[in-house]
Symmetry: C2
Subunit: 381 residues, 2 copies
């Protein structure tokens, strides 16, 4: 007998494998004509099963956000990983161990001090650790400022002369999550590309190697028009998509592959509230849409098969209570669902919501209501 959504204990995280595959195929089709490698960011999925069954398997080069991810994916056979958060010296023993296990793990850095630490560890281990120099395109967080050309070259020299390997440059247009619409995102993509190719040119002019020129974010990867001079694109959340991406215009609601199935646990009839067992522990505390034109509260409420109830969102969340009501300003009628009924809630931010779970319950849009199995997640650092 096929298991169905009605059999599930809630709250539970559903992942539509058909939609994940469709989102990946669309991104690959978009990038293919540009001759760039897609290096998917596996920080959203954090799942060996998703890597193996949906993202292309261990031969696909990937990006990760923690050494734990690098360790788990390397153990599962992935051979080419970029750890795309600035490396600190205390983490280099783990980097060396992962590389020794047969995975070509690269690190990123934005200072001479970090380059020297990587070079020292490379000499100690007799293994030239590959490093990309991180550049800042938009003031978002980390990365060397483009104005610091001398420091860029000094970092490159510290790596090369010190015994590490200079793999290239890396940029992340993190501010592309801030402004909705294709036009703004195309501009962000241009800034990201310009920063990356500018730094690559400076390194090469100084006689240093720069084989990899890496850019990426889901918005800029989706809307980028010009990838000349770029060798690879990193993006992650596009596999699952979410309400932030939908709010930016990067995807439609129907592209969102992950959602939380919840059960009605009560009502406040005077207020038009329906209470469900998905609070912020189930949805995460992420309120990413609060800064976008349409604030989706803690999530958009759908029937269990993913059809949205017009203007019904989770307006408030306690640890284990979600409060569903009409969007403020809407005159939509309250939901009329009895105690025990189930709803699917689309999340603000797939990375944050998925992190609240140890596994995905796999579904497929072509087989509505069926449960196809589970896929384990991992977490930690």
């Amino acid at each position: 007998m096929t298991a169905t959504l009605a059999d599930l204990a809630t709250p539970v995280l559903l992942l539509d494998g058909f939609k994940v595959a469709r989102n990946l195929a669309r991104m690959r089709a978009h990038l293919a004509p540009h001759g760039v490698v897609l290096r998917p960011h596996m920080k959203t999925a954090k799942s060996v099963a998703v890597m193996r069954d949906l993202v292309g398997g261990p031969e696909t080069p990937i990006t990760v956000s923690t050494l734990k991810e690098a360790e788990v994916y390397a153990s599962a056979g992935v051979k080419d990983i970029t750890y795309a958060v600035g490396i600190s010296p205390d983490k280099l023993d783990r980097v060396a161990a992962i590389r020794k296990s047969g995975c070509d793990l690269s690190v990123i850095l934005d200072s001479v001090a970090a380059a020297q630490a990587v070079a020292t560890k490379s000499r100690e281990t007799g293994d030239a650790i590959p490093a990309l120099i991180e550049l800042d395109a938009d003031g978002h967080r980390a990365g060397l400022q483009s104005s610091r050309g001398e420091e860029l070259v000094a970092i490159g020299r510290a790596l090369v002369d010190g015994g590490a390997a200079l793999k290239g440059v890396l940029v992340h247009a993190g501010e592309s999550y801030a402004e909705p619409g294709e036009a703004a995102i195309v501009l962000a993509a241009e800034g990201e590309r310009a920063t990356a190719i500018g730094a690559a040119a400076k390194l090469r002019a100084a006689g240093l190697p720069c084989p990899t020129v890496s850019v990426g974010s889901t918005p800029t990867a989706t809307f980028g028009k010009d990838f000349s001079g770029i060798t690879e694109v990193r993006a992650g959340v596009f596999m699952f998509f979410d309400l932030v991406m939908q709010g930016l215009g990067v995807c439609g609601l129907d592209d969102i592959a992950a959602g939380v199935l919840a059960t009605v646990i009560g009502h406040q009839p005077e207020k038009g509230w329906t209470l469900v067992d998905a609070g912020w522990m189930a949805m995460s505390r992420d309120r990413g849409t609060s800064a976008l034109p349409v604030d989706q509260g803690y999530g958009v409420v759908c029937d269990p098969l993913g059809h949205p109830y017009p203007d019904q969102i989770v307006i408030k969340a306690s640890q284990e209570h979600g409060i569903i009501a009409a969007r403020p300003g809407s005159n939509a009628k309250p939901l009329d669902l009895p105690l025990g009924a189930k709803v699917l809630i689309l999340p603000n931010h797939a990375c944050a919501t998925a992190a609240q779970y140890d596994s995905y319950v796999m579904t497929d849009a072509r087989r509505p209501g069926e449960v196809l199995g589970t896929a384990a997640r991992f977490r930690g650092w």
Copy 2:
């Protein structure tokens, strides 16, 4: 050789067992003269080790927020548990199984429909499931409105006549987290108590039993003056405390027992930013202090032993990046910490931050810098 904080891979969650014990002793001393039972809420800790070693062991009656918590703590020998989130019919098989295992698990509800479902399951299993009727004191989320006296009695009758057990009433003054200061919280406590004893009186006047009159939240438990008519107090986050509680005036910074140890991974010198490897995945997305007089960003930055750096907070967080800078409006100088240095970050909300980890690294304020071991956490539903 004693392990020290310097040996730890970061980010990692530290829990000071001495402070947890002190916070518990203080709460028990405050409540003892009032003759009420403390039923600690174990949703913050989610740890059998913390229950066993710090909260009083399996003989202590506890509160939980998920059936998973009930199952884990019951398996560890806890004999008296209240599941303090409204029960839905689909969860009653698990409730019955936990009770059958020898744990006296109670549920809560606020509708005749839920009472009928509990009564039906009680008859099916031949075991009268104890239920408390949840009342709403302040419009926070769930619970029957006090004005609905007839429905209150109808719920009680549905339980008693249907074969379940009416254990009493339960109120949570959730809005006590909204307004800082003892005076406001004393008022919230009075409202909570009045709601609870009013409902108890109505049930008794209708000839129904009401042995338990349960109130609780960390703020109202801390500042409550009058517990007459109350039989038990629930509270949870007081064990760990956090910046929200400190911002409400409920504790001092030095009472906060949980913090995230992080490592410096970079700098943006022009901006006075220090980047660490604790982003929102390590801190949670909880921004609970954003609505309080002092917004603490994603956390207050301390040296590894917990001494705060004046006015240094995590102003911004990506998934794995935290950005430390002076509090907006402050003229504090930027932190001067090199790559690889460690800091301790106090969280906005202990429940949310702890949920990002699978274990605690145990410390003790009387043994600064030492690591005393680890304590496992669990999660899920």
